[in-house]
């Protein structure tokens, strides 16, 4: 369904060129949910924006392709890509932030994609907007309200309604639970999961929160410094991680019952402005070997779909 091949994206900044994504390969099958996990600066959001081709002006796709159903998105004209956006591929942003226009009522914003893609007009569009709002659990009192009158969870629901109103095939959810309280997070995850099942949507769920991702994703890809570290089914990632970074991420999850100490990851994430040679995680890695400094991202471990880019996977 979605196939990312050798994707390279960089940003021009005042302090130099930042490598946001390096040689990224990723396949997402139809109807599955791919969890994309990484710290901030790992390139996960850049990948989401690149798939929509709505990267900021200073970003540049250096090479590689993103294919959807065999069509390379990079080769599409601006107009054709615009027609795909919000219709075939939709995106859910962090709703707790300013993802909604403060001057427009909820129902008008939610039904706008129908008007943009000529699927409905006027009152008809609004009526369909209300239908979707009801479906995501927003009551009629909210429909004519403005974003500032809604709670974070309600805004997130509205943002989801807006993304699914056109019945897209692909949904990219970028940090949809960030900034919400834990109970609301779970409700949003459930809503996304139910919607995805019901409509057989192919979903990419981007988050820095690994435990949340394990609740929704069929497969998980772990990114670090713009590269893929490990990818596999959710149970493979959780039960038998092969990359030391994945292991560290799993160990930094707090345990409410508290029988193990949280171990953070020592050191700082790599700077996209000065990526070191060799393995990017090497300097924070306890299992680092001498060879790691000349590592060239050959697959270090592979069993079916489970891959890890590390030469010392046995040590984990």
């Amino acid at each position: 369904m979605i196939s990312v091949n050798k994707l390279n994206v960089s940003y021009k900044t005042d302090s130099g060129v930042a490598r946001a994504i390096t040689d990224l390969d990723m396949d997402v099958h139809e109807g599955e949910t791919m969890g994309l996990v990484g710290e901030s600066g790992s390139g996960k959001s850049t990948l989401g924006l690149a798939m929509m081709r709505i990267l900021p002006k200073n970003a540049q796709i250096l090479s590689g392709s993103i294919q959807v159903d065999g069509t390379d998105l990079m080769s599409l004209s601006t107009g054709k890509m615009r027609r795909l956006r919000g219709e075939t591929i939709s995106m859910v942003f962090q709703g707790a932030m300013n993802s909604l226009n403060p001057l427009m009522t909820i129902e008008r914003q939610v039904s706008e994609p129908l008007i943009i893609h000529n699927m409905a007009q006027g009152e008809d569009a609004l009526e369909r907007g209300r239908e979707v709002l009801r479906k995501v659990g927003l009551k009629s009192a909210v429909w004519k309200q403005y974003p500032h009158q809604l709670s974070g969870g309600m805004k997130q629901r509205a943002v989801i309604a807006m993304a699914i109103i056109t019945n897209p095939k692909i949904l990219i959810a970028d940090e949809p639970t960030t900034g919400l309280d834990v109970v609301t997070q779970m409700a949003i995850v459930k809503l996304l999961k139910d919607t995805q099942r019901e409509r057989n949507i192919t979903m990419i769920f981007i988050s820095h929160d690994l435990p949340i991702v394990t609740k929704i994703a069929d497969r998980i890809s772990i990114m670090y410094g713009g590269r893929l570290m490990e990818s596999g089914t959710t149970s493979e990632i959780v039960r038998s991680p092969r990359h030391p970074y994945t292991t560290k991420l799993l160990a930094s999850v707090p345990d409410v019952r508290g029988d193990h100490l949280i171990s953070g990851i020592p050191g700082e994430p790599v700077s996209a402005l000065r990526l070191p040679a060799g393995c990017l995680f090497r300097e924070r890695c306890e299992n680092a070997l001498k060879e790691c400094s000349s590592y060239n991202y050959e697959i270090g471990y592979q069993e079916k779909d489970h891959v890890a880019f590390c030469i010392n996977t046995g040590a984990v």
Partner: protein, 320 residues
């Protein structure tokens, strides 16, 4: 709920406006009492004014009474729209101010509308092409005109007009004429001067406001919906970018009346600005008081208008 809170919001604004108006009236009284000069000796420009004559005049104008009595009478009259008799023209101040105000508005209303529209248009043009040569050119031009002194630019236009010939450079009508064409010919240069001096600030404000809005998350959301540039700009970005413009426009509506002093003086336009300029020379206190009250009222009313518009267009305001 929305309607009720909007009316309390409005009521609060109106009360604040009334309080401001009262303060303005009082301040205007004070201001001219502390100015140097004796209005009576100025009124009759004769060094041979006798003590008795001076006293008689003091009684006629009420200047012999205690200051607080003068103040109460002044406030009472001001509220009735009576600002007294002009020392210089010897007619009621109101009868001079009203036609002058009309003349000013004939010039200022179109100048304001044109400069706001031009400012918004060039600001949007610039923001959408941020950091391109077109953006820099539009912005530099706007800033250059904004920085020019009004009287200087007006003077330059007069020089050019005289050199070319055929364009009137002073007054509102030619002697004996009352035709609209004649009025518009006379208006051309002062109008052009006002528009050029004023539009730049709207350009800069609109450009910066829109540039900030264009980097907001909800603009990215609009892109993700598949909206084209036209929809992004006019349905999402410009309405949001207009919010800070409302205050700027309101402040300028008031200030334009004062700004008109320069343009009206340079082009001898018989408006309120020109009247103020002449009355300063005549030490005509009642006239100045009346004119300043009109000017400050226009600032206060413009602010009230801005508050009303804010409450209508920005749903967040009503709930504060």
């Amino acid at each position: 709920m929305a309607a009720a809170s909007y009316s309390t919001y409005l009521a609060r604004r109106v009360i604040l406006t009334v309080v401001s108006v009262f303060i303005i009236i009082s301040f205007n009284f004070l201001l001219f009492r502390v100015l140097p000069g004796n209005p009576i000796t100025l009124l009759y420009r004769s060094p041979r004014l006798t003590f008795n004559q001076e006293k008689a005049l003091s009684i006629e104008f009420g200047l012999n009474r205690p200051e607080w009595v003068q103040y109460i009478l002044y406030v009472k009259n001001a509220l009735e729209g009576n600002f007294g008799i002009s020392y210089y023209y010897k007619v009621s101040v109101t009868s001079k101010i009203i036609p002058a105000l009309e003349n000013s508005l004939i010039l200022l209303i179109p100048a304001t509308i044109i400069s706001i529209l031009l400012g918004i248009y060039t600001g949007v043009f610039s923001a959408w092409r941020e950091n391109t040569k077109a953006d820099v050119a539009v912005l530099q031009t706007a800033m250059a005109f904004y920085a020019m002194p009004t009287f200087w630019l007006g003077g330059i236009f007069i020089l050019i007009a005289i050199y070319i010939g055929g364009i009137p450079v002073a007054g509102e009508y030619s002697v004996g004429s009352t035709s609209i064409i004649n009025l518009m010919e006379h208006m051309a240069l002062p109008l052009l001067t006002l528009v050029l001096v004023y539009y730049g600030q709207f350009t800069i404000m609109m450009r910066n406001s829109l540039r900030d809005v264009l980097s907001e998350d909800y603009i990215l959301t609009a892109y993700a919906k598949g909206a084209d540039s036209k929809r992004i700009l006019y349905s999402h970005a410009v309405p949001n970018a207009m919010l800070p413009m409302i205050s700027l426009i309101a402040i300028n509506l008031g200030l334009m009346v004062t700004g008109a002093i320069l343009v009206e003086t340079v082009f001898s336009w018989p408006g309120i600005g020109y009247l103020i300029y002449q009355s300063i020379g005549h030490l005509d206190y009642p006239m100045l008081q009346g004119a300043f009250i009109i000017v400050t009222f226009s600032v206060v009313l413009a602010n009230l208008l801005a508050d009303i518009i804010y409450g209508l267009v920005d749903p967040r305001i009503r709930y504060r």
